[in-house]
């Protein structure tokens, strides 16, 4: 496992505000996917976005990526009010997104995927410079890719995640959005991706990370923002208890998770039952 570089704690001292969402709403027909959501992200900060299925996490990320248009609300990026009509605009401003399905072309090699849509020298591709830059990016992330000239189809899940993250860093973004970066990954690959996120933060980028895995969230997040049914439902530090998070996510002390916990306790010690 690669060593994590020493970094000062990201919340020390005032940090530049990278992104500020105010009053974000998004309706799909009669369904309100997002209602009046606020969100701030600072430079060098990892913000985890958690919530149940249908809480609006992915909708929020897609709005920031320029895939969806908000129904109402404002986006301030780097202190300026911006509109994101399409993915290219978001990318141009410095918002890079790593989607859950990674969106890699399996028939192309690693270099082609990293530079997809941003090839150097369009009429006579500069393969040498692209390959060198790809290796530099991958080495910065301490990635372990055997060859950048093999099609992405031959890579493992963790390696593909690395390629997707390396691609998002190519444009020198200020904010990077990760949608479920550790879902579908094994234990070792998950640890590598979490290391990767810390290295990205150490480079002074703002990171928004969506995850269902509370362990991963607490391992890297500086702040945990909970969404529930499309609304803000609390903000926690990385030291928040599982109980508090689950309560905020499900919206009640009495929920399926707590009921299950009570039931298990009861099964393990039947004499407690009154």
């Amino acid at each position: 496992m690669a060593t994590i570089p020493d970094i000062e704690h990201p919340l020390d001292g005032p940090r530049e505000l990278v992104l500020s969402l105010r009053g974000m709403s998004k309706n799909f027909g009669a369904v309100s996917a997002l209602t009046d959501v606020d969100l701030d992200v600072h430079a060098g900060e990892v913000v985890a976005l958690v919530g149940d299925n249908g809480a609006g996490k992915s909708t929020l990320v897609k709005i920031l990526a320029g895939v969806h248009q908000p129904t109402s609300g404002t986006i301030a990026f780097g202190g300026e009010h911006v509109v994101l009509p399409d993915p290219a605009t978001a990318l141009g401003l410095g918002i890079a997104t790593v989607f859950q399905d990674l969106a890699l072309c399996e028939n192309l090699d690693v270099v082609a995927n990293i530079f997809l849509g941003r090839e150097l020298n369009p009429t006579r591709l500069d393969e040498v410079s692209m390959e060198v830059r790809a290796w530099t990016l991958l080495n910065e992330l301490s990635a372990r890719i055997p060859s950048v000239r093999e099609p992405v189809a031959s890579l493992s899940g963790g390696q593909r995640q690395t390629v997707a993250i390396a691609r998002s860093l190519l444009t020198e973004p200020k904010l990077i959005l990760l949608d479920e970066p550790t879902a579908a990954l094994g234990v070792a690959q998950t640890a590598e991706v979490l290391d990767l996120i810390e290295r990205v933060r150490a480079r002074g980028l703002g990171v928004i990370m969506i995850s269902h895995n509370m362990e991963d969230v607490r391992a890297v997040a500086d702040r945990i923002v909970v969404l529930r049914l499309g609304r803000n439902n609390g903000e926690f530090g990385p030291d928040a208890s599982n109980q508090d998070l689950v309560t905020a996510i499900t919206g009640a002390d009495e929920n399926s998770v707590s009921r299950r916990a009570v039931r298990r306790r009861a099964q393990q010690s039947p004499e407690v039952r009154s």
Binding site: P87, L108, L116, S129, S147
Partner: protein, 418 residues
């Protein structure tokens, strides 16, 4: 730049730092890597080479005229017309779409050239340009139907197949065919013009030289950037092989009438298309759209524009193929572009190694594939078989080619090569 600046034998190249990856450095390991690739389903042009050897042995033993220089020269004349159409098919297959109307478009453009040039007395160049522009317009129409109305390309082009055939019949009117004047430059180009021997030898040598120079310059740049580069010996070997093979082919054809200029035009179109598909941003985008359309869109590629260029190139090349076919036959007739033209063009691309499933292909697959198809056609004609048998055999060859493609694709997926 990590390792290459350090002195001593421990210096490591940027792309050679992972010991898990097998590198083919020697000639022996290159051959082993090739065998591995083929076994995993990455067949490249191997089926074509095997197919050609089988076809040549079979037909040569049945009729010794088959491999005679003059028969091969004729074969190359015939290849060029459908080959150009097939080159367009490669473009649409690259993005995972299909154009079933290329035969009709070629027939329509040959009729148009006949009407405008012979009946209306337009200058021949203007008639040709008009046909090419209309071909591009047909492609633009398909692109509009596909991009804006979401019409699957196989339906829109199937409708086109009928519509353009109707237009072709309408243009030709009751006479049914227009004879193009013998002795005109266009007909000479399609029937007679061959390169002077010295020009054909020089062009073959030039190809070897280009292979060597581009390889050498690439290796020098890679070395300067700290990447692995192929050795001088290997590049020389490759260049010499290319030169020797091409010079032999040219020598053999020059025993007959020589290398047709029309075939030269087809090959140069293939070379240009190959460059565009492999060395430009447009070509990279074509592969990306064919491999994963959504990924390409999210990477900021203008997917609709890529589809439009693919459809337009395809039907423009189909129109060009139709004009060449008219020149070859010295007539624009109701039969032009009908029958097996459509399927031969598609089969050639697939046999040459372009996948029907998108994202994989090469311009040279049109060249190799059409030579296979025309060899079969020429061999069967020499055997004096009826067209009923010819259709059945060509159909079987197409089926085999697609089966090989599907099986190879399945094998590639299980071996981690999309």
């Amino acid at each position: 730049m990590t390792g290459n600046t350090q002195p001593g034998s421990t210096a490591r190249l940027l792309d050679r730092s992972d010991e898990r990856y097998k590198h083919a450095d020697t000639i022996g390991s290159t051959i082993r890597a090739f065998v591995d690739r083929v076994r995993s389903g990455d067949l490249g042009s191997l089926p074509v080479v095997v197919g050609l050897v089988v076809i040549c042995t079979a037909f040569q033993s049945l009729n010794p005229v088959f491999l005679a220089p003059d028969n091969l020269v004729n074969l190359l004349f015939d290849c060029s017309t459908v080959g150009v159409i097939s080159l367009g098919i490669v473009c649409v297959l690259m993005v995972g779409e299909i154009d079933l109307s290329v035969g009709s478009v070629s027939g329509f453009s040959s009729a148009l050239v006949g009407v405008l040039w012979v009946n209306q007395d337009w200058p021949v160049a203007v008639a040709i340009v008009t046909a090419l522009v209309l071909g591009a317009a047909i492609g633009a129409l398909y692109a509009f139907l596909f991009n804006r109305l979401g019409m699957p390309s196989f339906v829109s082009t199937l409708a086109g197949l009928l519509a353009w055939l109707g237009l072709q019949l309408y243009l030709l009117g009751s006479s049914g065919s227009i004879n193009l004047p013998y002795g005109s430059p266009l007909v000479n180009f399609g029937q007679m013009l061959v390169m002077p021997a010295i020009v054909s030898y020089l062009l073959a040598a030039l190809a070897g030289l280009v292979v060597f120079v581009t390889g050498y310059r690439m290796a020098a740049r890679r070395q300067a950037a700290g990447l692995s580069a192929s050795s001088l010996g290997r590049m020389l070997l490759k260049a010499v092989l290319v030169t020797v093979v091409l010079e032999f082919i040219v020598y053999y054809l020059n025993l007959g009438r020589g290398v047709p200029w029309m075939f030269g035009l087809f090959v140069s179109l293939c070379v240009v298309m190959n460059y565009a598909l492999t060395r430009t941003k447009w070509g990279r985008s074509m592969s990306a759209v064919g491999g994963n359309r959504e990924a390409a869109r999210r990477a900021g590629i203008k997917v609709r524009r890529i589809y439009a260029t693919a459809f337009m190139l395809c039907s423009t090349l189909a129109a060009a193929g139709g004009i060449l076919a008219a020149a070859r036959l010295a007539s624009s007739s109701q039969q032009a572009g009908t029958g097996d033209v459509n399927l031969n063009a598609i089969a050639a691309a697939v046999i040459g190694g372009t996948s029907l499933f998108g994202g994989r292909g090469s311009a040279y697959s049109a060249l190799l594939g059409i030579i296979v198809i025309q060899s079969i056609a020429s061999g069967l004609t020499l055997l004096d078989l009826s067209s009923s048998l010819r259709y059945m055999i060509t159909g079987a060859v197409l089926a085999i080619a697609v089966i090989v493609d599907s099986l190879a694709r399945r094998s590639r997926m299980s071996h981690g090569r999309a």
